[in-house]
Amino acid sequence: MQARRGQSSYRDRTEEFFGIVETLRRSTAPDAANNVPYGGGGGGRRDDPRSAVANQSEFKKRAAVIGLAINQTSQKLSKLAQLAKRSSVFDDPTREIQELTAVIKQEISSLNSALIDLQAVRNSHNDERTISRDTTTHSATVVDDLKNRLMDTTKEFKDVLTLRTENMKIHEIRRQRFTSNPSKESTNPFVRQRPLASKPAATQPAPLPWASSSSSSSSSSQLVPRRQGEAESSPLLQQSQQQQQQQMVPLQDTYMESRAEALHNVESTIHELSNIFTQLATMVSQQGEIAIRIDQNMEDTLANVEGAQSQLARYLNSISSNRWLMIKIFFVLIAFLMVFLFFVA
């Protein structure tokens, strides 16, 4: 009764679904593989011409397989993350972690190659025959999606590995703090590839710490080889315990790192100095321009004042020479006055 109450706000599309399933089953037999986490790509397949269906189904098969494998890898990765997180000082499941890391690394590399194959297959399909634009976009989207997922998985892998190395570092520190031996027999699990790369000679090349510290930064196109390098170093760590010198490496680590840091500082100081130099140069040139303007102004002033002086000199001359004229005018005036006086008086 309660189920019947109220409006039924859904549409029953079961028959449509069955019809679609029938069509699909009739069109291609391998469509059954689409049930895998590939996604809802099967709906659009109906409209394809039959000749292209076989190629598309191969593409779909592969994509489905890859998607499944990516899922499995991510599951294993989460297991590995669990293991790495819970590792304590004493019962370190190192061996399992190593195995898991190796397995995951293998899977990632195989997935990478499979993805590349898939892409090649798709390109070859595109070149063979003319197909609709939708198909190309669809296959491109599928490939991109798989690539993104693979990239995410590899990123998680890298995070897990970093977490693991940090944990081992912490273990190392704790062990050193609590054991009273000189730390010669201690393990150095956070050494990357240095046991192999370091020569037993006197001077270590300075780029080594950069190379080892840059292994934690990854570019997406080189994800797989990087992960290979990192994962290989962890089985190597076990060997390094037996073979090489262990104490050397952390101390040379700090030694090399300090040298590298000093070089960095020197380089940055030189950069700053060059900046200061260029600023100096610009400012000096600007001020030179200002100085030229001042010079110009002063010359103009000089010319003006000289001109004015000459004018005044002429004026003076004219004044002094005009006096004669003035005297003559006065004489004429006085002569008139005399004439007037004579007439009046």
């Binding site: 000189p182 010669k184 037993p200 000679a201 006197a202 001077t203 010198q245 104490q247 050397m248 101390l251 040379q252 700090t254 030694y255 300090s258 040298r259 000093a262 070089l263 500082n265 020197v266 100081t269 030189i270 700053e272 100095l273 200061i276 130099f277 600023q279 100096l280 400012m283 000096v284 600007q286 001020q287 200002i290 100085a291 303007r293 001042i294 102004n297 002063m298 103009d300 002033t301 003006n304 004042v305 001109g307 004015a308 002086q309 004018q311 005044l312 002429r314 004026y315 004219s318 004044i319 005009n322 004229l325 003035m326």
Partner: protein, 199 residues
């Protein structure tokens, strides 16, 4: 910051106790009566640490307020006793230099040495003196310090340049004012000259 002692030892796996090949001491910081004790201590400590240093390995051991740095290179080991304010990197580059010098001068004869050698190596003694200042030993440190000084000087220069710029600006203002004033003067003078007839 001072170096108390520098030692060059031979420590190969076939000799259980390292052999002191050259040494230089500077015990000026210590009481005179303790000198033989300290000399003994330095020898013992130096040979122990050198013996425990594996080839191609650098080590630093802290003992009270002195730090012992040792660097083993193919069986030839250099040990330095410095105080703890001496930067580690300079210490190791100093040991590096000492080893280079030793190999240059003595070649490979040290390999056959079995007994504590009695010869004095004056380079070590003057190295002790010269490298009291860690900047001498470590070129990087020296470069860094010089660069810092240069950058300070540069900053002062830039400040002076800015002040000069301000002065130049005020000068340009004044000169342009002067220019205008002189122009007015000239015009006025010209005007009085030709304009009105004299009355």
């Amino acid at each position: 910051m001072s170096i108390t002692a520098l030692l060059v030892l031979k420590c190969t796996p076939d000799t259980p106790n390292p052999v002191i090949l050259a040494h230089a001491f500077d015990f000026s910081g210590f009481n005179y009566f303790y000198h033989p004790n300290i000399s003994e201590f330095v020898r013992f400590f130096g040979s122990t640490v050198a013996g425990r240093t594996l080839p191609s390995q650098r080590q630093s051991v802290k003992h009270k307020d002195e730090v012992v740095h040792s660097y083993n290179r193919n069986g030839l080991c250099a040990v330095g006793f410095m105080d703890d304010r001496y930067p580690v990197r300079s210490a190791f580059s100093l040991l590096d230099q000492v080893l280079d010098e030793y190999q240059k001068i003595f070649g490979e004869t040290w390999r056959s040495a079995k007994e504590v050698s009695k010869q004095k190596w004056p380079y070590l003694v003057e190295a002790l003196e010269k490298f009291k200042d860690p900047a001498e030993a470590d070129k990087l440190l020296k470069i860094q310090m010089k660069l810092d000084e240069s950058s300070i000087i540069f900053h002062k220069t830039i400040d002076g340049l800015l002040a000069r710029g301000e002065k130049l600006d005020s000068l340009v203002e004044k000169s342009s004012d002067l220019n205008k004033a002189s122009k007015m003067f000239y015009k006025r003078a010209r005007k009085t000259n030709t304009c009105c007839t004299i009355l």
